[in-house]
Symmetry: C2
Amino acid sequence: MPWIEYVGLLGAFLSAITFIPQVIKAWQTKSVGDLSLMMLLIVFSSVIVWLVYGFYLHLMPVIIANSIIFFLSLLLLYFKFTFKK
Amino acid sequence: MPWIEYVGLLGAFLSAITFIPQVIKAWQTKSVGDLSLMMLLIVFSSVIVWLVYGFYLHLMPVIIANSIIFFLSLLLLYFKFTFKK
């Protein structure tokens, strides 16, 4: 595998775990007031689009990263509505 | 251009604008306590990695989207340290 593909995999890995600390923080504090709902909705929409792209072009890193982000952004959306003051 | 490339462009566009509503919200409320610093640091790191990937493979949508996210995540990091209680 050419080195640049490892760079792509690292990027996909970092993108995939982006929202893990945010999910943990939100879960611990039960506070999500400062999180932008619009941001979460855009993340969720972009994930759907990237999944179409990834599945069609059989891009495994794109599929795996966005499947994880799909799940995490759904969780954050759930928190956003559940923890709302 | 094949239709799937438009899907990729749409994904890149959505990813690029992801943090715009969060920047606006943070700027208006001056409150970023619920934002995970670790999330922002991961976003910033992933952007650097994606920029290397994009520049090396001449992927314009990757370069443009991540240049925008680079700027926005820098802003959010600045807010995170400036607005900190």
